[in-house]
Symmetry: C3
């Protein structure tokens, strides 16, 4: 049960039939219809009045021991559940879990209000329902949509545009950018900083003016302390629905499509293009001026030095197709055993 | 000698016998008893009234040239010192050095006081001796122990609990967390941000509410600009005495034991467990849902994709036992020379 | 054309002869002398009244299609340009581009002034023309030169010295440091934090006082959210003209020479020395106590465990000469194909 010091009590309760509808899942072994569910919880912590979920086969054993009153499972594990357990069989159990968790725990409505210590420039226009935290700074000609939430000590630079229902975390700073709606920018994020552009030479490196912006679509998330440089002339672009984790670096002029996922500590160098739904796993890196195709998957710690085709999966540094990479690992291991023995 | 603009003058002076007692070291070649030592200094900078230290054999040559009046050395290098040099022979010379440095340079006592520009919610309870810097924000129902020091422009979110003698750096932000005593949280750290949890699907990635907390034990250090996400339901946990360096990422639901060490730019993905005294060197990464055994060592830049047993040392990506890794490197190098030649 | 919400209109216009002089380039196929150029723009976006530039052969095709009125090209591509195109032939086209871009878009002069919400200690001395943003904190005995610009909510710790024409980004924090002139410190940078120094032992890790400073030369740039720890006794040093990108970690006692370049997410561990003009590409790492020679190049994602000689290029982890590395990659790929087939 979520700590009431930090979270509101769960909504509900819901019946099993309601859970099935919310989760868009197939009910199996329904309990008595008057039975209600009061929260969602992990397998090991769930009480009989909670619904739980199995997302990964590593936790199959916990499924056998859980006290949960019902459980979301993928079809392939429905038979592994204890006999008679109330099940919600889902094609995409992550999605079913998300839908249920959001029903019990919708985003809390925050009270609007501009803290008296916030510094709002007289020319800024804040939309209806705005919240601005203590010490936040909103610059000249900034425009925000409805219900935006600017965290304590965040800094919004001159001219920035922000859409509706945007949340900006504590201490983040944004400049030279246009931000869509329903965007989550976490604490400490830096948007629109000067790209790393200069002419190297023996007389000293000479900075090149960075005259582009950062354009962020709708439904984007950018994780804590990540950095997104503004373009050098062209813009840096992050497409609708893209999710970026913590401590990620996005270089100038990078163009990221829709629905991409970039996991913690990964980096994308200048002018590279990620087509829609590309994924970069944790600590992966993509060199500059490359094209990563639609739905391509860059593995954890991969170092990508060439274009990657649509739907390809690569890993290693230099990155190569996943199957080839693990074959080289197997060969090396065998050689090492033979000669080392 | 430490710059007086930034540091208080050293305490002391101490006699050689006092140094030996403080360092818990064996004295060798004691100088005249009235001789005093006024500071600790590196071998190359030490004057005759300073005690120095040899921690690494790379600096053996500097030991021969040093003007230091005495030197901490490990037993195996005692004979390498110049004849007659006053020595403090220590089993753990790093520890002896730390003890001496802390005797000359104890943590400075800071003047308590709440800066008038800090924003403290009326329901927050700050312990005795608290310091809150300019522009810091302390939210609803926050409770801190004695002598906590909240840096300038730091943000402490609603409901956070903080123990005694905790130091929080400038611009850091904490939310959804319970923090022990004697914890150092450096500038720009982000604690309790939303974990990277969502259901991927073609209809758009769907955020999963993150309902857990971050629980931080006693004597923990978290380096500048590091990020620690809150749990998704279970908590993210950092055990007593664990040291975390700068720009480290700790994912949601990670459980870190006591006395672990995680060096700069390393990352630990969601739900992984580090048992006590595990070490991750710089830029190492551990995938999610793994178990790293007690005292295991993950090498620099390692990419760990499988569980690691207690006491094992691994390196490489995918990580393998250190000895095996260097054998594969040697084999490859030989092959490259043969065919390349 | 740069977005007028964020950028001032370009200076100029300039004639072709003026452009050639500014860029220190050789003019070829000059247009009519009264023709003027109003801005600089990328090949694909340039209008006939703009000058453009070709920096990379990947964009040769765009050169053929550009509407730009003139173009900076390296000598080797002068013949690839459309017949009759007005060209500025430059030995270092990046430098020529930088010079032209700076002529059209010089750094905007900012209006000096101390925001009334900034907290400046009574003992601090700010030079002529200083700007201090809202919520910024300037500590005891801080001294700044002329025209320094301290961003909103930045924190300058006690005793810090800053030279002329320094720009410090939003939310950055500096302590225990001496900073030269014409230094750019981006948003969220942490300078002078405690180095990761402690004695490990079973009784608990024991912090070692960190008594050094950070010394930053002239014309240095440090990217967003990067971290630079202060020395343990010796100083951490960053030489004149060195450029550091985002999310970079510089450990305690590191000494970086003049004109070095350290790209995003790279890290340098404690006490390592980088001689002048050394380069570390993105996500590279250098272990502690090493020496990287003058002009050496550490490749992207390289893990350097040994000294690197002047002028050498290394890559891989463990890092090896570039040619050797790619030979091992080729051998492995061949083996994988043979046995995998």
């Amino acid at each position: 049960m979520a700590d009431p010091r930090f979270f509101e009590p769960p909504k509900g309760p819901f019946t099993f039939a309601e859970l099935a509808r919310i989760a868009a899942a197939t009910p199996l072994n329904p309990p008595e219809p008057e039975r209600v569910f009061r929260d969602i919880a992990a397998l090991e912590e769930a009480e009989p009045d909670a619904v739980s979920f199995l997302l990964d086969q590593r936790y199959l054993e916990a499924l056998l021991r859980t006290r949960a009153g019902a459980c979301v499972v993928p079809a392939r594990f429905a038979e592994a559940a204890p006999v008679g357990m109330a099940l919600l069989v889902a094609e995409n159990p992550h999605r079913a879990y998300a839908l249920l968790a959001r029903a019990f725990h919708p985003l809390p409505a925050f009270p609007p209000g501009i803290d008296p210590t916030a510094q709002i420039d007289a020319t800024a226009v804040l939309g209806a329902g705005a919240r601005v935290g203590p010490g936040a700074v909103v610059g000249r000609a900034v425009v925000t949509g409805a219900n935006s939430d600017i965290g304590a000590n965040a800094v919004i630079g001159n001219g920035v545009r922000i859409g509706d229902d945007v949340e900006i975390g504590a201490g983040a700073s944004l400049g030279y950018c246009l931000v869509g709606s329903r965007v989550l920018i976490h604490a400490g994020v830096r948007i629109g900083t000067r790209g790393f552009g200069f002419a190297m030479s023996a007389e000293g490196h000479l900075d090149i003016p960075q005259l582009g912006r950062v354009i962020i679509g709708d439904d984007v998330e950018i994780g804590a302390n990540s950095t997104v440089d503004r373009g050098s002339g062209p813009d840096t672009i992050i497409g609708d629905g893209t999710k970026i984790d913590n401590l990620v670096q996005i270089g100038h002029n990078v163009r990221i499509g829709r629905g991409c996922v970039i996991v913690a500590q990964a980096g994308v160098a200048g002018s590279t293009v990620l087509e829609d739904y590309a994924v970069i796993a944790a600590q992966g890196g993509v060199a500059g001026h490359l094209r990563i195709g639609r739905g391509a998957r860059i593995g954890a710690k991969a170092g990508v030095m060439r274009d990657v085709g649509a739907g390809e999966s690569v890993i290693g540094s230099p990155a190569m197709p996943v199957r080839e990479f693990f074959r080289t690992v197997a060969i090396l291991t065998r050689l090492a055993k033979k000669r080392g023995g």
